[in-house]
Symmetry: C2
Subunit: 569 residues, 2 copies
Amino acid sequence: MKLRPVELAERHAPHLDAALKACATRAHWSPFKESPSSKVHGESRPAEGRARFEALLGQPFEIDQPGTIGTVGHEVSPYTRKPLGITYPKSDPDALFGAAREAMRSWIELSPEERAGVCFQMAFALEEQAFVNAHATMHTAGQAFLMAFSGSGANALDRGVEALAYAYKAMADVPRTAEWEKDFGRTGIVRLRKSYRLRPRGVAVVVCCATFPLWNAYPAVFANLMTGNAVILKPHPNGILPVAMAVKRMRETLAAAGQDPNLVLLAADEREAPITIELIKHSACAIIDYTGSQRFGTWIEENCPDRLVFTETAGCNAVVLESSDDLNAAIGGLANGLCGFSAQMCTSPQNVHIPHTGVRAGDTVLSFEDTATRIVDAILQRTDNPARAAALCAAVQADQSLDLIRSVRERALASGAEILLESRSYDHPDFPDARTATPLVVAVDADQIDLYGEEVFAPICFIIREHSSEEAVQNAARIAQQRGAISSYLYSADRSFIENAQDRFAEAGASLWVNMDDRMPINFAAAYSDYHVTGLNPAGNASLTDLAFVANRFRIVQFREPVPAETGK
Amino acid sequence: MKLRPVELAERHAPHLDAALKACATRAHWSPFKESPSSKVHGESRPAEGRARFEALLGQPFEIDQPGTIGTVGHEVSPYTRKPLGITYPKSDPDALFGAAREAMRSWIELSPEERAGVCFQMAFALEEQAFVNAHATMHTAGQAFLMAFSGSGANALDRGVEALAYAYKAMADVPRTAEWEKDFGRTGIVRLRKSYRLRPRGVAVVVCCATFPLWNAYPAVFANLMTGNAVILKPHPNGILPVAMAVKRMRETLAAAGQDPNLVLLAADEREAPITIELIKHSACAIIDYTGSQRFGTWIEENCPDRLVFTETAGCNAVVLESSDDLNAAIGGLANGLCGFSAQMCTSPQNVHIPHTGVRAGDTVLSFEDTATRIVDAILQRTDNPARAAALCAAVQADQSLDLIRSVRERALASGAEILLESRSYDHPDFPDARTATPLVVAVDADQIDLYGEEVFAPICFIIREHSSEEAVQNAARIAQQRGAISSYLYSADRSFIENAQDRFAEAGASLWVNMDDRMPINFAAAYSDYHVTGLNPAGNASLTDLAFVANRFRIVQFREPVPAETGK
């Protein structure tokens, strides 16, 4: 069954309109189902999703794409600690780039509306496999099922559609034709007919991260496809399956819409033989969308000046605890953030700055020590019960995070810092072999910045004793500016303190979430509403999304010609 | 007399609306006077402008700005070959950047509308000095008076206001506040109040070129100021005066509007002690807007990856002559382009590709040789009369261009190419010592690409014998793609030939002007209508202007906070 792009454009026009409206109002909107509940999807879907996932294990992943020169694939599940046993095509980069460039030739003949129609069709096709992809994300990234369902499903697709809408908006800003006339005095009025043709930059390489394989990938993929660029997705060596499934589904949709499936290609690799640099340095790579470590992100920013580079890396996210009218809700929200997915999110808090004089809570003041104890208690409350810990902390993606916990603990002890809460492995009720770790909580003085002054990608929380609440803000903002931050947090019941802190964080180029309590995940980033990375600190440069994320992915070529004088036409 | 920004916003709101409309329709519009005619300006203005210019000669240029540590200035007029004798402050870069950063603090408190009001006020204040600035541009760049009047006046201000409008549009795309609510199931509906604050990147360095000191500078200046960034202008060592006058006038307007004048600063240097690299590599430089040679532009693109870089450099602009229904008008237009300002424009044609079988003109075919002769005759017609030559060719900005003519001539002769027309100095009627040169015309074979295959910044035209009209298009487009092109030209009466050529040039990332005849300057680039550099070939990356030119000059910092549940507000 062929889906004609013009029909897809018409079918999805209401979605495009709604997405554009959401971008403008920045209110909540989604055409996708965020919950995996059987009440929403029917009884059979969850089990069917699991079965589809299990059928993939121990098999070559079936995907037909050019340039296959072997196989790769050594993914290990953070839940079972066993290999998934799936192999993927190993691809010749030259063949991928060649096929991708060729595929762009016909794709750019479509109108932006038609490309939007095809991309929306892809998005809904991707949603269809949200259950199976949730299992794939669990067993590569280590996420809990609920998070994996939305984080590789509706929430990721929302950000993708948001980027689609921004790309459409930027292209719609360029008229396709114009008539221009000007009086040149002696020679009279000259009329020119002008036309403007949008051209893609070339092939984009989208480098995906280990812990959220698709949440950053979809915005990059749709921003690129919308503006006419083909995409090669390079998954993390332990996060291939969710990406491969997405690539396969997008290729199927493209083919069904009569388009060249090579607009979307997979380039998988292994830890022992990484290919990222070869891909992003390939002469045909025009755009790089990178998600991952700050170190490699900065390397790309500094070493690929002749490509368009978008990065989302990581930061040293701070919390300033000054006062609260509802300290229970505040500390509850904070503890959720410290435990959530074992702090393996780019928005996870790490450093909790508290004045040594304590925290005002309503009419009383809770001492620094008591506040720290309350945070520890809130973490214990969330991790003592294995079922609750499993839902909240999920699994740890990589052994390196466990190593980090050990090394931070040793360095903390060596420098006289106090361990307030040891990290431990909790017993996952469903996966006895799961790689798990509850948060390590360390109390430090503000001057021990060598301990807490950069991001530690592991469930580790530093509680920092500050000389004053003002210094807490200054220190947190300075670290955000120098080391990067994606989300910073402030708890205060004092309006003027909040406003001063906002000014200080704005100067530091860091966004600030104020008084986020336990009614929602404090670090939830909402499509159409929350701009992501500010680009003003070392945590990356890509907002996901704004006009700057899309406007330079295409360029304008112009023609002009006089309107013949005789007819005036 | 203080001008309040809010009043300026109101005063200039109709101009902003009209500019936004012009960007959308891409029709002709201008609030500025392009003609220096006394009928427009009154009898006294031209003489007054000349007197103001003459009063500047041989004096220190009076401009009060921070960090002055000496004087610089050794400009020589291309018309008189005598020093202007004007000195300018030599500035300490650290002091300039410090003052610029400080000035941004209050500037970013203004609304985009207020900043637009102040920028429009500047633009009209700059227009007021169009006469004196025309003389300043003549005697530094070598332009003829008419071109200097519009090219440093109305035409340049038009592009500046265009950039202002795009910057406004990009900022208007970001709402300032939003209310967001989402049902989090068990914990109920959470409402967040969000606010979005626009932040500038930092200080921009605008590097101006020798031949058009302000045409590229104004778009960069207004794009930067609108988005909250301060600007340091670095003029060419022989083009300081027009830039210094503009900086002074902008500083006066800022001060009159109660703003810190250090938002706009001059950093002049001398050929023997250039400071461009020191400025653009300064740790406080966040944005670089560069106009000048392709070599240095590419160096900046490759060596400043941690700054936002916009370049407009130069290309090897081609003409393909295939057929014409009015060959006189076509060759007339082409000859105007070859002679105009002695081909010292980034849009000047250089290489004329003609099939060896000749050019169809109506019912007959003109041979290759006869076509070349017609081009030579058209150039002679325009250069034999000194008054006409003076108005069209003006003066040559630098001795290096004369050296280039000599060296190209020698290399052409050495490789057996035929000199069809020698370059000569013509006698300027007003300035007997003027540095002048009529075009050198050289006939070459298509395979002599080492002669014509890169830009020669001098009045030199290569007439290239191609195997066929199709190969002419292929060769011209390939050079545009590999060596860069800002404007390419095609003359053809064959619609399908035109369309094929458009496709080929679009693939090469080059804009194409078709059948531009002698009724207007063929390389005129119209604000609000003609996108400039495509960014798809080595002639630079900055379109002047589109959303990509402005959207990344500011970033978004966000705050969010729950709406208290009690009141529902």
